[in-house]
Amino acid sequence: MASSLAEEEQVLVEEKLYARTLVLNRPRQLNAFSFQMISRMLELFVAYEEDSNVKLVIVKGKGRAFCAGGDVAAVVRDLNQGNWKLGANFFRKEFTLNYLIATYSKPQVSILNGIVFGGGAGASIHGRFRVATENLVFAMPETALGLFPDVGASYFLSRLPGFFGEYLGLTGSRLDGAEMLACGLATHFVPSTRLSMLEEALCKVDSSDPVIISAIIDKYTQQPHLKDKSAFLRMDVIDKCFSRRTVEQILSALEEEATNKKDDWISSTIQTLKKASPMSLKISLRSIREGRLQGIGQCLVREYRMVSHVLRGEVSKDFAEGCRALLVDKDKNPKWEPSKLELISDSMVNQYFSKVDDEEWEELKLPARTNLPVSAIAKL
């Protein structure tokens, strides 16, 4: 019992009237999701949906992070011990949680007062309200790790204005709170000094009506200032370049822009893309492109196929290598294989999108969702 208590403590629960606040409580790991945390979140979300005494779910993080993603280091430990299925199981659970959040019948308010990376985005962006603050740092940094933007990112990135999603997903660029609001990843911006008042007000709510909840949050919002060097102000270049058909064409469009005029932002964008795993770039672009035309469920099923292939490493072992270079050895010098975009054939990319050829492997089976409100149905 002692250990299970410890597990539960990784997610603290505060109950006030009709509101439930889930506090991600692993501050030393920047609240990175452990398998236990995800299981616990899933359990709580399932229970709250049926509980008529719950009308609102608030999610926040303890310390300077909301959540820095899935605990990839643990997955890679399993991987290095030859156990890719344990890792796959982690993602299966996480994606199921993402699906539940995306189709949740009650409003979720995520307080994004700090770091939101990868899996942290999956646990918040799919929800109804995302409150940004001046402390928010958002990124989908997977291509630098040899992975791809998962947790349903192919759904939400592809629905950002123009081709901003491709830009974020491929470069892993960071966004602040103002940028999150501008591009639509956040629904509100509230200065962190007002958070306690906001939470207090939310805890008095006795309604699941999103209009009412939105009106409450509105009272604490502020119009943030978009910094002059924001990528969001470079939408013309982003649309022009990141709309291209292939990664190679995106790069050459950027290079063409760079030759026309010297521009630090463009050259650093090019540098970032060149440092990322070529295979990650290829599968990420295709994932976002397919996701644009799919529902959230289809996106997660496809991403689960992809992540299973990434873990198995039959085409490329870049994920293990990326984690080694960035998280374990920290030499920041990953040796990607294949090392260049030109060395990656269509059939290699196709493999990531096919079923996994393993008798024990199963497709991601998402829970049946019925009697959903319109906002949740739209995501199906």
């Binding site: 644009r292 035309l293 969702r369 739209a378 199906l380």
Partner: protein, 672 residues
Amino acid sequence: MERVSWRTQVLSKHLQQPPSQSPLSSNPCLSYSPPELSERFDFETKEMREILDAHNLQDRDWLFGLIKQSGLFNPRNAGGRVFVSPNYNQSMEQQREMTMKRIGYLLDRGVFRGWLTDRGPEAEMRKFAFHEVIGIYDHSLAVKLGVHFFLWGGAIQFFGTKRHHDKWLRDTESYAVKGCFAMSELGHGSNVRGIETVTTYDSNSGEFVINTPSESAQKYWIGGAANHATHTIVFSQLNINGKNQGVHAFIAQIRDDDGNVCPNIRLADCGHKIGLNGVDNGRIWFDNVRIPRENLLNSVADVSPDGQYLSAIKNPDQRFAAFLAPLTSGRVTIAVSAVYSSKVSLAIAIRYSLTRRAFSLTPNGPEVLLLDYPSHQRRLLPLLAKTYAMSFAANYLKMIYVKRTPETNKTLHVVSSAFKATLSWHNMRTLQECREACGGQGVKTENRIGHMKGEYDVQTTFEGDNNVLMQQVSKALIGEFVAAQKTKKPFKGLGLEHMNRASPEIPSHLTSSTLRNSQFQMDAFCLRERDLLKRFAAEVSQYQKQGESKEYSFILSYQLAEDLGRAFSEKAILQTFSDVEATLPAGSLKDVLGLLRSMYALVCMEEDAAFLRYGYLSPDNAAAVRKEVTKLCSELRPNALALVSSFGIPDAFLSPIAFNWIESNSWSLTQH
């Protein structure tokens, strides 16, 4: 609040159940439930889509995304979803300008790269795939591009020689020049050889001189001529030293770079149309327009500087045929786009029929889903099966087009004529049925289907009137028949090899399993084709014996000619279906395709009176066919959603009634 409670009362009375907290959401009649939650998916829709779209799937998805992400394509939010479709409420002039802006956007994004400068089957297939996606968005946009790239660009590619390619192709691909294609005249459409525009050669200046000699010779329906085109291909009689050398094609400029009309050119608008108002169809008159000698597209014939007519092909008939053969691409794109239009309308109508209910079977009982009515199944599912069959036929047509050789020209001409007519007719019929199946909602422009009837109607006319094309099919078949009789050689080509074998026997009593047997189905179609061909040949020769000319005999035998054309098309389509099936491993996908193939074959038999008229089916067997169709309807019903999902048309390209039509029609959405 008063209003809400009043409505609640009305609704509860209407439903005759005690008022509950939310009568709207609890009653199955009045709440929307996504069909995905209740319908079966027995096979992988993704795999089915790979068979249907057949090529460049990722390229297609990229372009779908490109369209969806741009504000230029008129995205609208309805019921929590984004839909893209042109604003057809704009004036004709506005729609035309939007078409050009959208072209500019796609051009900047590199969509047209290589459309004229890359060669080979792969490049052609990619171009087709992009063109299909664009057509799913808007027919005007596809037609406007088709005129510029396939007609103007194609004419330069195929009728021109290196000097034309070097000068024009790159500039066409980048839209430095905007091309149009002036073939039809007020007095001559399908009969191109009869056009009246006349061109002479002035050896003193080394120029051709083009003239419109009469009002009936004005160029008519010329897409691009009314507003945007800078250049045109001109089809004209070529008169050299008083001798008419037949129809030739020339390049003439009609506007300068600033859009001013060139001297000696008169342009006028064709005006508002029942559809395709995003295309600026215009009229052109030529008043002694002088163009350099090099502007004759000289792949089959040329004029020397001193005015001598030179051609390797002496026979003007053959010269004309060689000349027009490459224009098949127009018929190919029409046939293919007709299928995609049918797919859009079926996807919308079937999705709607899986969420809309009407009438109860018992008093106070739940109302019944439209598609659970056998009559509704009978209206939509046979059209669905035909659309599958024609999808395979269209893919086959694209394939023989991109792999064409001089030897396959005849096959290509006959098959493209037959499929263009059959598929575009099928599309019009499908659109009408789907419109009706959606009831009043089908009438709303935002729901696409009703509007598409106007947009696609012209497909039965342009690039060759359907009836004329079908007559050409029958003429080609009778040509084969007469030749085989004369030379005593076996039939070869056009799928007529079955004529060399004994006539197939149709069992006197048809069981369900026989009816679903692909060999039986093919036998029945072959029997019809061979018999109609013989009857047609006999009737023509009968008329000829009575002293009528060959041409007039054909005209008099039009009924059999029509029947034969239909028999040929339907059999050729069935063959493409069987060929696709043969490539698939056993499994749920193949099973459902088997049902669709049987549905296609049997519904063709049911609809064509020739089967009964000429006794290929006994009245009893015809009744058995009809009964089997209803059985197939009920067997296909559970797969209906999966079958339309397999079309791979993104949600944003369907319409609000295909999704939560209650929400998209809610009061709150009228408030902003």
